[in-house]
């Protein structure tokens, strides 16, 4: 069965410092992986997706993620946090068109 585990329920960083949101996946075959962001009282926005073409995936707003098969990880990073990055982030695996979400990581950004 496919699943994702987000290793931190809450991450707090200072503005201008790097962001790391951790995600491990479980899949019996090459997975389709995504990161979505949800701002308060908003729907979900796709940040980036892993398509197996490249292990380092660049997304919107300066985010990127690296697919590491040996570690079954798909961590999300950003070099410098901005106040507007404060939101809930979901790591997601797709199984035949059905999205399976992690529990989410709340990112707080301090001035």
């Amino acid at each position: 069965a496919q699943s994702v585990t987000q290793l931190d329920s809450h991450v707090s960083v200072s503005e201008g410092t790097p962001v790391l949101l951790r995600c491990n996946y479980s899949s019996s075959y090459s997975p389709s992986l995504f990161w979505y962001v949800q701002h308060p009282n908003k729907g979900l926005q796709l940040l980036l997706k892993y398509t197996s073409a490249a292990t380092l995936v660049k997304g919107i707003n300066g985010f990127e993620a690296e697919f590491k098969k040996s570690e079954t990880s798909f961590h999300l990073t950003k070099p410098s946090a901005h106040m507007s990055d404060a939101a809930e982030y979901f790591c997601v695996v797709s199984r035949r068109g059905k999205l399976i979400f992690g529990q989410g990581t709340e990112l707080s950004v301090k001035p």
């Binding site: 389709s32 059905k98 999205l99 529990q103």
Partner: protein
């Protein structure tokens, strides 16, 4: 290009009542999926519609049913509402069979359902 739209935005119902939520997919998309997001949780897959048929279903009771219309819009119906049905209901659209799309889904803003 219109994105995914959902109506209503908010809804308050009483236990035992029935509710219908509506979704219009992104222009050009033909597949609609519904998700339930309880407070503080990740979204959970309810079901997916393509060609006016339910193609996949998650672990939800039969009280949850849906429909897709010829214009690809969709409805989610919930009967005999329980307090535990209070949640944000999200609709997502995608294009079935698009090679390389990797089932990329675009989400609407959701409908907040409160059951009292």
């Amino acid at each position: 290009d219109a994105g995914v739209t959902q109506s209503p935005t908010h809804l308050i119902k009483t236990r035992g009542q029935q509710v219908t939520l509506r979704c219009s997919p992104k222009s050009g998309h033909d597949t609609v999926s519904w998700y339930q997001q309880a407070l503080g949780q990740g979204p959970q897959f309810i079901f997916q519609y393509y060609e006016e048929e339910e193609r996949q279903r998650g672990n939800f009771p039969d009280r949850f049913s849906g429909h897709q219309f010829p214009n690809y819009s969709s409805e989610l119906n919930v009967n005999a509402l329980l307090l535990g049905d209070s949640a944000l209901y999200l609709c997502a659209s995608s294009l079935m069979g698009q090679v390389g799309a990797y089932y990329e889904q675009y989400f609407g803003p959701g409908t907040r359902l409160t059951v009292t």
